[in-house]
């Protein structure tokens, strides 16, 4: 791991035209291959920050200050996997299209790469022969397709916007595992947005805690969780429901 950051945010400020400030002067940086957890309650500006990094702010939100510096390309995995796919377009076709435009291959090669990607992400082989629409896949399967779409962009940074919130608990675990193993294999950096501190703690080496558009605390995951400086962080930690003690085991992702 080199110490050269692939992404730097400097005093980024986002606002709606009604001069309401949504994200207020936030700064953090990300190193190659590092995973950063962006935690906070809903409405704290986490998702907007991701959209700013991606360069696709929602209509009506503007960047009013600061800079986003990034040396590599980024891709995003969304919260609602079904909503993130065109319902009228077969999934293989959607992926093929992305490969075609991003990797500048022939259509035929794009389709081959797309199918390989889907297989690697553990989607059934039946996709090869039969057109499947997003509505015909389960939520977890859709999310795998969305991850494949992001990977097809060969991103240096993967932005994950609560990728497991809309999924069943059993599927959440599988998706997290998939993302971590892909990260180890491909070595991209990651910004992981979640309100679930347990997930963030397991995935990320560093955490940034946001509240009402501001960063209130950031640091190494372990030290931050062991000695939270802010009451808010403590509150977020307390809000994770632990499993009742069963044979001495707690919640653990790995």
């Amino acid at each position: 791991m080199t110490i050269q950051p692939v992404l730097e945010l400097e005093e980024l400020t986002l606002a709606a035209p009604s001069t309401e400030i949504l994200v207020n002067s936030i700064s953090f940086s990300l190193e190659r291959g590092e995973s950063l957890g962006l935690v906070g309650e809903s409405g704290s500006g986490k998702s907007l920050t991701l959209r700013a990094i991606l360069g696709l702010l929602p209509r009506g939100v503007e960047q009013t200050g600061g800079v986003v510096r990034s040396k590599v390309s980024s891709a995003m995995v969304f919260q609602d996997p079904r909503g993130a796919l065109d319902p009228l377009c077969p999934v293989v076709k959607q992926l093929t299209e992305v490969v075609y435009y991003r990797q500048r291959t022939s259509l035929k090669a794009a389709r081959r790469i797309a199918l390989e990607l889907l297989e690697r992400l553990g989607l059934p082989a039946s996709l090869k022969t039969k057109d499947r629409y997003p509505g015909q896949l389960s939520g977890g399967q859709c999310q795998r397709v969305v991850i494949a779409l992001a990977l097809a962009c060969k991103p240096g940074i993967l932005l994950c916007d609560e990728p497991t919130t809309a999924l069943d608990v059993t599927v959440q675990r599988q998706i997290i595992d998939t993302i971590t193993s892909l990260q180890q294999e491909l070595g991209f950096a990651m910004v992981f947005v979640t309100h679930n501190l347990a997930i963030a703690a397991n995935l990320c080496s560093r955490l940034v805690v946001m509240k009402q558009g501001r960063i209130i605390e950031q640091g190494e995951t372990h030290s931050l969780l062991r000695h939270p400086a802010e009451a808010y962080t403590q509150m977020l930690m307390d809000s994770v429901l632990p499993l009742p003690e069963l044979e001495g085991g707690g919640v653990s992702w790995k």
Partner: protein, 289 residues
């Protein structure tokens, strides 16, 4: 993250605003009110404003172009066009308002019953609605107006028969969504009888949107009245009516085009005024609700 909201849906609830400031802050409503008031004032005071009689013929002065004496010229029977235009507003607007009363009430009632009770009541009302909708609006209007005898009475019968559907559909959807909400459920658990919930709780909530729909529907009704007049099965001459005026002017389209064009513009003017009123009311209720 939520993107900006789409503003094409109508507001869902709220009470009519009473404050004058609210009206002044809604340009569309203000302009609509002004446009409509001008028309109403003209229609009320036309006997004092114009020296001419709308039905008295003056064949020596027929088909005159606009002049100082006749602002919009005269028609083929020498009657002052402007005077007739405003008297026609009297006829058409009165019928428009009166013909909407019964359909509005029955439509809102049926829609509430259909949406609130659901099940078989809803199915039957939906089937009746579907049947009526299958007949092209103008076809059914023309046939019923003819069958019930041309003239004002025919128009009223026609709209009592077909006018309620629009309101029933809108209110049905609204009521069905309200039924699932908590405050209705809590009213039910308190043991309030159904008709009481409908009238005291549901009605005030569906009324604003029904009124917004009423504004647009009145435009359609006015256009239908005018169309019937044009086709010769609406208001009978010599009573001034925009539709018959357009029809009367049609043979002179090459020489005196304004005879047909001007009454049409009067309809368009009224349409814009009602549109603005509807949009404005929707705006106010959306902001409040």
């Amino acid at each position: 993250m939520n993107t900006t909201q789409i503003d094409t849906t109508l507001p869902d609830l709220g009470k009519p605003a009473s404050g004058l400031r609210r009206v002044l802050n809604t340009p569309s409503l203000l302009i609509g009110i002004i446009m409509f008031t001008i028309l109403i004032l003209l229609a009320i005071f036309i006997p004092y404003l114009s020296p001419y009689n709308p039905t008295e013929q003056n064949l020596s002065a027929f088909l005159q172009p606009p002049s100082a004496a006749h602002w919009l010229g005269t028609d083929q029977l020498g009657r002052d066009l402007f005077t007739r235009l405003i008297y026609a507003a009297r006829t058409d607007l009165t019928i428009m308002v009166l013909a909407e009363i019964i359909p509005f009430c029955t439509g809102v009632m049926l829609g509430m019953i259909s949406g609130y009770y659901g099940k078989w009541t809803d199915r039957i009302i939906a089937l009746v609605t579907d049947t009526f909708i299958a007949f092209p609006f103008y076809l059914i209007v023309i046939i019923v107006a003819f069958a019930s005898g041309a003239g004002e009475r025919g128009i009223y019968i026609t709209f009592i028969l077909v006018g309620w559907i629009v309101f029933a559909r809108v209110v049905r959807g609204l009521s069905a969504s309200f039924r699932k909400q908590e405050w209705i459920a809590s009213a039910q658990t308190l043991g309030l009888p159904g008709h009481r919930i409908l009238l005291r709780h549901l009605l005030p909530n569906v009324l604003p949107q029904a009124v917004v729909v009423l504004m647009t529907d009145m435009i359609g009704l006015l256009v239908a009245i005018v169309t019937l007049g044009y086709l010769g099965i609406g208001i009978a001459p010599p009573t001034p009516d925009w539709g018959t005026m357009i029809a009367d002017g049609q043979p002179f389209i090459t020489t005196a085009w304004w005879l047909s064009a001007v009454p049409g513009f009067a309809v368009v003017y009224t349409g814009i005024a009602l549109s603005l009123l509807g949009d404005g009311l929707a705006d106010i209720w959306r902001r409040k609700g």
